[in-house]
Amino acid sequence: MNYDPQEPRFDQVGTRDREVDRREFLRRAGILGASAAASLGSLAQPAPSGGLGVAIAEADSGPSQLTIRLTSDISNLDPAFEPADPDLQTMFNIYENLVSFKPGTFDLVNTLANQWEPSSDKLSYHFKLKKGIEFHQNFGEVTADDVKFSFERIAGLTTPNLNSPYQGNWSALERVEVTDKYTGVIHLKHPYAPLMTLTIPGNPGHIVSRKAVEKLGNSFATNPIGTGPYEFAKWAPQQFVLLTKFAKYSGASSQYAAAPIWDEIRMNVIGNDQAAGIALQSGAVDFTQIPLTAVKQFQSSGLGVTKRTQFGYKWIGMNLEDPLFQDVNLRLAIRYAIDVPGILAAAFEGLWPQATAIIPPSMPIGYWKEAPQYEQDIAKATSYLAKTGLKNPTINMTYDLTEPGGSTVAQVVQQNLQSIGISVNVQGVEDGAFLVTGSAAQMQRHLFYAGYGSQADPAQSMQWFTCKQLNLWNYMYWCDNTFTSLASQGQTETDPGKRQQIYVELQEIWDKAANAVWVAWPTVYFAQKMGITPSLRPDGRIIAWNFRA
């Protein structure tokens, strides 16, 4: 048998193997450390430029690039469809409108239109286009025929019918008349006030190239052609969208905004809020929405933090289909039992303003300044509950799991109602399931916490709570004919003063019905690197092309 005295003997196996002397330990540690350093060194790179405290001007040579975050991937960039916010955010840079909101405001300014003249009865709108405005990818000059095509396709007046979800925005459209190459008239069936707040300056008012849509067909959705300062260059699904500066940009926005400065805009898809914050700190993005839990941290880190209160609203609704909630005393008991400031502190870091009604102060029309702000009043709540005759009732509360802070809101409400003797069973429901309506789903839902978005017109906020929306988006199953009729009137009344009165009255009716506890007007917070000046609409929509450095 070969016996190597350097190797452990049979009877010493296990004993000597455990002994690692100092020399051996240092030898092995040295090998491990050297290997790790070599591996990391081959993969590492220096800290990316534009990190904390580094101004953008010191970035690498090559095209200047603005990198911002998309909260989810794009899916359809056709203005007729535009399913989600990331699509809208991308489209702002690609498309233009006849008339737009001046960046940072809701002041209307001519963009593609040289002239824009509504008739006195607001049934027709004469437009004259600026000449020489080119579409991307050599699809030619913008003409009045493109305007006709852009609007009528969404309105459902073309064959085949696109079945656009935004048909409602053009429901008043009778036709678009083309009078010559650059002029036309938009004819309406009836006056429609939101035309100049939601439609013309919004995504249903984006001008597309007829030639491009007809040529590209379905692929237009992911190969959009507009006239905007940036054109669609690349889409890496689930990763990023790349826009490049449009060399032939007409400068349609030059009267109200400086020329875009970035050669490229890259929009990185980052679904996770924590990861987005880390991406900003690591320099992977220049600007991003940040979660509420990170606001104070970013404010103290020296990064720029910007906030905007959106037009949306969060509320706790009561299901009037259920016999329990048809008693106004129960509804009032719940209203006075819930501690809304406590909810705001617990669920939203105290960073969202308390809502007093559906329309926030930033809405151009419709804010109800005198709306009552209900404080928690346990004595009052108990007294209303006593009038119902109910003894220790149990109710269900559901919330959408994707609703930020929803779980905390529900728990606070549960605790608040427990203090007046109402037991609450809380159930978080997945988003798709939460949207289910119909009697079975409805009966499970006594209280619910929900939030809707809105845009720059109160009609957008109010339309979901009319009688027409039962079994659709009116989860409270509240049908008030006066409310429904007034809401309809608010859409056709074009005088701003009268509209203001209508929308205040609508909110007064709603307040009297006591079927909702208003929680918050959501506020989004953004953080950006030093040296970046973001451009945002008052409601928080990101206008990347107008960012400055």
Partner: protein, 324 residues
Amino acid sequence: MIVYIVKRALMAFVVVVLLMVFLGVLVHLIPGDPVKIILGQQASPALSEQVRVQMGLDKPVATQVWLFVWHALRGDLGTDFITHVPVLTLIADALPHTVVLAIAGLGLAVVLGVPLGVYAASHANSLGDRVTALLSVSLITMPAYIAGLLLLLAFTVELPLVPSIGTGSFEHPLDYLRHLLLPAVALGSTWIGYIARMVRTSMIEVLNSNYIRTARAYGLKQRTILYKHALKNALIPTVAVLGVGLGHLMGGAVLIENIFSRSGLGQLILGAIATRNYPVIRGGVLAIAVLFVVTNLIADLSYRFLDPRIRVEIGGSGRQGGPG
């Protein structure tokens, strides 16, 4: 042997077909109306009905399932409800990144876990063994999600060494690897611990075998004993688990893809579930299921090379394997 392989392949095919039927039914059990979710608040009832017909959702569930299975067997997984991109294209774009991530995670787990396990076994009950045990259990109990966020903070913010987000491109392999490193470590960290513990346990058992004692008696080097004679047998249970592990990692890849904003099948399916994009859900889950079945098949067949006893059973020879 060929007959065995063909039989296993046929069984795998049957499993996949049954899976397709099951999937086809399962998506319809998810509550929520895809038309409502896709069209959003803007859609009128009339419009919703028109779109429902266009999407084929007006047909009975059994018909929809049959159509899905029939088309899938012919390689047609339908088109995305929203983007109208063929589902096969979406999967072809996303799948390689998920597979690479899962393999990288598992590969890291094997490369680090096996030596850890071997060391622990060969130094059983020593301080080193206890430290390894502590490390292994810590890795097993730390969720990949948390590991990912910690790694992001450590190696992209505090020590900015690698990119924090993104996938990179196959056209730039080094850049792709840089984007892959942290996600692979985050994903594989749990399995480093699992493999280390498994290898330790089976190695200790093998090291107490008579043939190992004989090898030592012959004076073979410790390294030879461990890595040439003992490990091969000790790895058999680990290989069995690796097949399952790859499937587990592909599922875990969803969270990692989300944190690191990587392209992948997990992200694709997650987004599709939120919007009830049935064709993408079915196609994506089917792709993962097929991968799972195939990897398990490969794992099963690999036993042949590792364990001569299985080779004999399959081949029908009366001779037993082992050192002789």
